[in-house]
């Protein structure tokens, strides 16, 4: 890809925009179309584009595989942890009403936290898949 200047320059410009758009989809998810899954896929797609143009090694330096494991597990913990917090507050598992005095505010906080957990796990898992398939033959 070294000789494709156009691709390299465009990618440099596009990747940050894709990542920001992913975050927009993530945090807009509780009001409009979007949510954690879509955001996670878009975020991972941004990194995949970077890897396709600059090489998997460069992508691995930018987003190491170790982080992805932490991200995948951390997302599950954030999702389930939100539920545990509402249990500790005396409500049922994942009852967001417990998260704030006002039920509406509680539902907002709950859905944002949970969707962020989904986004983290989806990003982590999709990129892990990509690294495994792109790096066939090498082990880490």
């Amino acid at each position: 890809m070294r000789q494709h200047t156009l691709l390299r320059v465009c990618t440099r410009m596009l990747v940050p925009l894709i990542l920001i758009f992913a975050l927009y989809v993530q945090f807009h998810g509780d009001y409009g179309p979007g949510g954690g899954f879509q955001a996670g896929v878009i975020f991972a797609a941004g990194i995949v584009l970077y890897a396709l143009v600059f090489g998997v090694e460069a992508a691995r330096r930018a987003v190491p595989a170790t982080w992805l494991r932490i991200l995948s597990a951390g997302g599950v913990l954030l999702f389930a942890g939100t539920g545990v917090v509402s249990m500790l507050a005396g409500h049922n598992f994942l009852d967001y009403d417990a998260l704030a005095g006002d039920p509406v505010a509680g539902q907002h906080i709950g859905i944002i936290l949970v969707e962020f957990g989904v986004g983290m796990t989806v990003t982590g898992v999709i990129l892990s898949f990509f690294y495994v398939f792109a790096g066939r033959g090498r082990r880490d």
Partner: protein, 492 residues
């Protein structure tokens, strides 16, 4: 906190699974696994105590009331299955430490434990949920993680075995999903209790019969009921020892639970069994499974394969009791879920110690080990006796209950099949025991260090449990009767 127990039952292994990934160290992951399984066992004991008198616990996930939200619904049968699954995992946790270190690559041990915990989460989730679609989701969680842990087996053939299981398991899962989709199309609800109320109005529609057909076939694949059993022997034989033991003791039990739950609670037995000849079909397949599984087991040289084929025969007993549509039959089935789990778990764990010691599970690897490893050999013999159904072991209790239930219906041919299958099991277990005690030890390379105490603890806990249930089965039998009564008494 009692009100939160149903959620904790699934949450504990799920959170522990994520923690394992973060911990990364093999020892830390094992500790996390052990604590999570013990805690979840404690929860299931409390749930059994709460439901054994016939009470039903309902838990609204996220505070959304059923049938709109997801409901966890626990009656005597659920609680009993939860007890089996979490109890088996808890007992096997001490065994896991050395066995997993010996069989799984060091860098992958933490991922292995994370996947085993996810598989447990799925199995417990299937057993606890009162929502049909939620059941499918948990089924996929447990299936996907079990494909991965089977593929981690030490032999390259584990990959092919896992792939076969993946294909068959996916077909099974999809069939169940199609069945659930058809029911949703008919009634617009996914809550099992609500489905049971609404389905009778659609009783004569072809869609309902198709839904039942899809679910029965799908669950039979996961259950490995003859002739849909082809995936099971290799999957159990080439998986890591812990996985063979754990899946043999729990996964097929949970699949049997799914079959029983859908037929008895969602479709209601009178409609499920009338007109479709489901009862006769299940009895015939169960009888073939009992005999064919045992006959094939006699000719196996790999003891893991032998035990796997014997599982197929034992699944026959489980299905036979469920097909009788009587309280006695269902009670026998429920009890056999426990007794087969304990007996097969004991056998697979004892075999796991032998694999740890010699590196193989062929009959020739076992030669003479009864003398060099007396404790392991003795535990294997107890497990084998229970599998055969000798008095004072758990296996005898269920065979007795099953024979009584079959005799009640005057199905003498089936009673003959049960007895014949037991006689055949004497032959195949006898071959193994003969090799263990009366053959000269082979000159293979064996590990020189003694068998770890933790491994022996697990094996002997299960061996003693076999004897304990065989000598005093009343508490479990009482739960089984309550469960059978609830299943036949309409909605849970």
């Amino acid at each position: 906190m009692t009100a939160q127990l149903p959620a904790l039952q699934i949450l504990l292994p799920m959170l522990a699974s994520a923690l394992c990934v973060l911990l990364r160290s093999p020892a830390g992951a094992w500790l996390c696994f052990t604590l999570a399984t013990w805690a979840s066992f404690a929860v299931s004991v409390l749930l059994v105590l709460a439901t054994r008198s016939g009470a039903i616990l309902s838990y609204e996930m996220g505070g959304w009331e059923p049938p709109f939200g997801i409901e966890l619904r626990i009656d005597a049968l659920n609680a009993f299955v939860l007890l089996i699954v979490s109890g088996m995992a808890a007992v096997m946790a001490p065994f896991a430490r050395s066995s997993v270190l010996a069989e799984i690559e060091q860098t992958r041990v933490y991922l292995f434990y994370a996947l085993v915990l996810l598989c447990l989460t799925g199995l417990l989730g299937i057993s606890i949920t009162g929502d049909a679609f939620n059941l499918f989701v948990f089924l996929e969680i447990s299936s996907l993680s079990s494909y991965a842990i089977i593929a981690m087996g030490p032999n390259r053939r584990a990959l092919l075995a896992a792939f076969q299981y993946l294909i068959m398991g996916t077909v099974g899962g999809t069939f169940i999903l199609i069945g659930i989709g058809l029911m949703y199309m008919l009634t617009g609800t996914l809550n099992m209790a609500d489905l049971a109320e609404r389905l009778p109005a659609m009783a004569d529609s072809r869609t309902e019969k198709a839904a039942l057909g899809f679910i029965v076939v799908g669950a039979s694949i996961k259950l490995a009921l003859f002739p849909l059993h082809a995936w099971l022997p290799n999957a159990y034989a080439y998986a890591p020892s812990l996985v063979s033991a754990l899946l043999a003791a729990t996964a097929t039990k949970v699949a049997a639970y799914v079959l029983i739950r859908f037929i008895y609670t969602v479709f209601l037995p009178e409609r499920a069994f009338d007109g479709l000849m489901l009862s006769e079909l299940m009895m015939a397949l169960a009888a073939i499974a009992m005999i064919a599984g045992s006959v094939v087991a006699i000719f196996q040289h790999n003891v893991k394969l032998l035990l796997a084929w014997s599982s197929i025969a034992q699944i026959g007993y489980i299905v036979l009791g469920a097909a009788l549509v009587t309280t006695a039959g269902l009670a026998a089935t429920t009890l056999h879920l426990l007794n087969h789990a304990v007996a097969k778990g004991c056998l697979f764990l004892a075999l796991g110690v032998i694999v740890w010691k010699t590196g193989g599970a062929r009959l020739s690897d076992l030669a003479g080990l009864g003398r060099t490893l007396p404790w392991v050999g003795a535990a294997f013999v107890i497990g084998a006796l229970s599998l055969i159904g000798v008095p004072f072991t758990g296996g005898f209790i269920t065979k007795w209950y099953l024979l009584v239930a079959v005799a009640e219906q005057e199905l003498w041919l089936l009673a003959g099949a049960v007895v014949l299958s037991s006689l055949l099991s004497i032959i195949y277990m006898g071959r193994v025991i003969e090799t263990l005690y009366f053959r000269a030890p082979s000159q293979g390379t064996t590990r020189s260090e003694p068998v770890p105490v933790l491994m022996l603890t697990s094996v002997w806990l299960l061996a003693l449990l076999n004897v304990a249930i065989g000598s005093y089965s009343e508490p479990f039998a009482a739960i089984a009767r309550t469960a059978a009564g609830q299943l036949l008494g309409g909605t849970p």
